[in-house]
Symmetry: D2
Subunit: 295 residues, 4 copies
């Protein structure tokens, strides 16, 4: 099957390569030449423009930074949607506002194009290993069309609901992740300030009612777990500024539907302060620094 892949960053690049490795004919594009070079080295064909990439493609996969890029590509200056033949399937794996997904999907439908939102979690490690989690907003039939491709890039595929629901599920999950990482940081820092051993306390909470993904897989206190960002100077992983973006999407959504999310709103602002303090590029588990004594 002929696939166009647009957006070849830290996530999109490895995803495109995995589709190529699985035997699909992938034509890829990114505005950044180094990003194109990287997938080319892995054997993926690179197109000179987004328009060239989609020529003859049955499926278009996009992995872009933010709402305005997706809207711009398909409906704005890019005008890519107008180029796609009836029956094309667009899988947008960007994490963007659900409202934008719905807007582009509606325009697509008017043209006979299937647009589904399929944001991911699992980080760059999952993108490379092909073990991403997809949260999909789509009609059942469109999801079934996409499933064989998603399975080449990920190991968990959740059907969250109709178009836009993938984005909503993603931001609900990431808002909760932001809260529990910051909350876990506070709990460990409080214990340590009382003289407790962070390993012992983490293990107690992990096996008690405080148990959560951060304690399980991604402990924010240096040295408690191996091979997590906190044990490597908070390098790699999922950056503070990316978490800040997702927490912002959650607040934007909360405002649109008049929902109340006091902890989610506070988490967004704590990460914003952490970023302003100069830690935007560090892994998001470095938020623990904001509740620790300095120096």
């Amino acid at each position: 099957m002929q696939i166009a892949f647009i957006g070849l960053g830290n996530m999109g690049g490895p995803m495109a390569i995995n589709l190529h490795k699985a035997g699909h004919s992938v034509r890829a594009f990114d505005l950044s030449q180094p990003a194109c070079d990287k997938v080319a080295e892995a054997g993926v064909a690179v197109a000179a423009t987004a328009h060239a990439a989609v020529q003859g493609a049955e499926v278009v996969v996009t992995m872009l930074p933010a709402s305005q890029h997706v809207e711009g590509l398909f409906l704005g200056a890019g005008q890519l949607l107008a180029q796609l033949p009836k029956g094309t399937l667009v899988i947008d794996s960007s994490t963007i506002a659900a409202a934008t997904s719905s807007k582009v999907a509606e325009a697509a439908q008017a043209q006979g194009v299937d647009f589904i939102d399929a944001p991911v979690s699992g980080g760059t490690g999952g993108a490379i290993a092909g073990t991403l989690t997809f949260m999909v907003g789509a009609e059942a039939a469109a999801l079934e069309r996409a499933r064989p491709l998603l399975e080449k890039m990920g190991s968990n595929i959740f059907h969250a609901g109709s178009v836009g629901a993938g984005q909503t599920a993603k931001i609900c999950n990431n808002m909760l992740l932001g809260i529990l990482m910051a909350g876990t940081s506070e709990a460990i820092a409080l214990g340590v300030a009382n003289g407790l051993d962070p390993k012992v306390l983490s293990e107690i909470m992990r096996r008690s009612s405080g148990g959560n993904w951060a304690l399980e897989k991604y402990n924010p206190f240096p040295g408690v777990q191996e091979n997590v960002p906190s044990s490597k100077g908070y390098a790699g992983g999922f950056g503070t500024d990316l978490m800040l973006k997702d927490l912002g999407l959650a607040q934007e959504n909360a405002m649109a539907v008049k929902a109340a999310t006091p902890l989610g709103g506070l988490a967004r602002n704590l990460y914003a302060s952490h970023s302003l303090a100069g830690h935007g590029a560090l892994d998001f588990s470095s938020i623990i620094a904001s509740v620790q004594k300095k120096g």
Copy 2:
């Protein structure tokens, strides 16, 4: 072994009964006659006063509501500590301020009495079933003395550190629990406000990076899980006012050690508002009502 058990409420009563069932000679006491009657029905010997209960006891177990009761019993009006012979082991399973534990322990040590803090989690269900989790603050030797008894009442025994560390671990865990229950409530309510199915969203987050104990065992949204308080009108379980107490202990501790816990502090105040709105007796997962549209 002769054991005195003081404090026979919803938690203490079943714990005393479990020690009795395990073959120990238990003499129990509570200021409330109905509480005494309840354990008496199960065959536990009841003493007329705390002083009478500890006569001849090698071990004294206490399960009292708050710091002032523990301090009052041992050091204040109760003056019970002065009555205990050298070598007595006191196991305090109350959830109280770590500072109070340390204060009583110090006085006990001066008299040759071993005082350890061993607060529990697991609720009344765990107390009855004998599957509580103990978080113990004690020297290793004292813990080993207590262990055979703790094993009659619980299935997990964590050694958190020296005296006071059990209390600290407990409030760190429960502060985190308060945060993740409120955070999980916000995430589900946000999804539902966007039209998502709470079951589908809960399952997605449970298996993703938002995964935590609340999603695993205690979903706050009615009907998502069976046999949890949210599916029974928020009856039973762990009351809002008990969570409020524990979150208050965490803040008290944070102030004593000059720690920062922004989410923990906010959680305490959200539960306080929820209690003021008249929901103090409902299970703490009812906090979801504070982020849902009424009526």
Copy 3:
């Protein structure tokens, strides 16, 4: 001078009437017939459409509910901007996103039209009395053109900066207002819970370092001041849902510029909870109910 006035709600209606009373030839329009009838009764000429209203007008004043209405009217379906002759002055008194103001202003400039943002504070009382405060974002020359008209509707005219700055000043002020009303409510409720007299405490804080506009003019505790919403069952005044909207604009802006506003974010979510609890139509000082014991 010929003036078109579009948007005749609780604020816009009296503003249009004040311009008419001052001797200007006003042609007004609103989608709601009762709103049109109300200004017609006061002698203002009513046009059948927005397009008809602007015929021959030197100045267009708009007072609309939200960003999408302003953008829709001028750039979207309304296409009103295309109708305006070179040299027209548009005074937008709506409270909307600064980004929208800037976007419309840019399009206006390309057409030789002056677009300035001039959101107000002072409530319906101020609109009727002609004592509104205007926070204006404009080049100095455009502001001077507008000033004689603004003076007919308000008594304070602040020049906040260039286009968009009026909106920013407004949301900064209203975010701060939301914080200090909620904070003042907490402080009074805490004192009352300790047995203090709310009048005595309010007076002490008003004259001390806790002094602020809420204590001065708009005490949230019933009976402390006369003729404020709290003493009239929280009727009238500035509704909870309007404050919620402004706090949402502030958070939206904070996200756009990556600012951190932890108290502002929390205030937004506290008002959202208050609205979900069914109090959206009550005056915003009713937020005190969220920290008071019910019943």
Copy 4:
């Protein structure tokens, strides 16, 4: 009149000197020799111990750092209360827990001693100038006895209610101050991030519904006002750690009476983070740094 003055720090020292200057016979004491030397230079008689200071005194004024010092002096190791003859008036100007004030007052009453709480605001400047604000918790008769002395040290004397009410009024006020300083900081920082001039924005808000004491007298943005800590590198003024202490007293009190103070709780934790980041000794208006871009 013979007066004992105990506690000669940055506040107590100047207060004792003002009593001396007013013609009273003051005998002062502090554990710190330099503090004693300072008042001695101003002509105040210094006693070798607290016990010596109170010999023959009709009135005892205390100005101590925290609850434990007041309780310790009068009831604990100090046992000073037992030394005071019937009819002595004790004026405690320390900022401590209302519960401690009530406890000491009760013990005093049992001995025929009048104990009133009279915490102050106004800072070291007000202490030196004799323009402090006193918030007094006392029966009316005791307050009238104290008034002539309070008037030598301050210019505003508020009667908050019976014993303990002075402390409650003080922490309610200072909690509100902590909130409005942090909130004002957020509002100004948000405006500046949007390109507004901090002076212009401050002036707009000061004269609008965001108006408050911080904008009036103590702007947190450097250079907006002269002679405030923000314009002098945040030196002098009211330290972050002192505000942290008062916000902690407010939370402690909120927990004791089961009050909800979400913004007050968050403010306490924001100041705690700010202190952990190394800014505990800077003036509390430096909290603005936590919402500004670093470097």
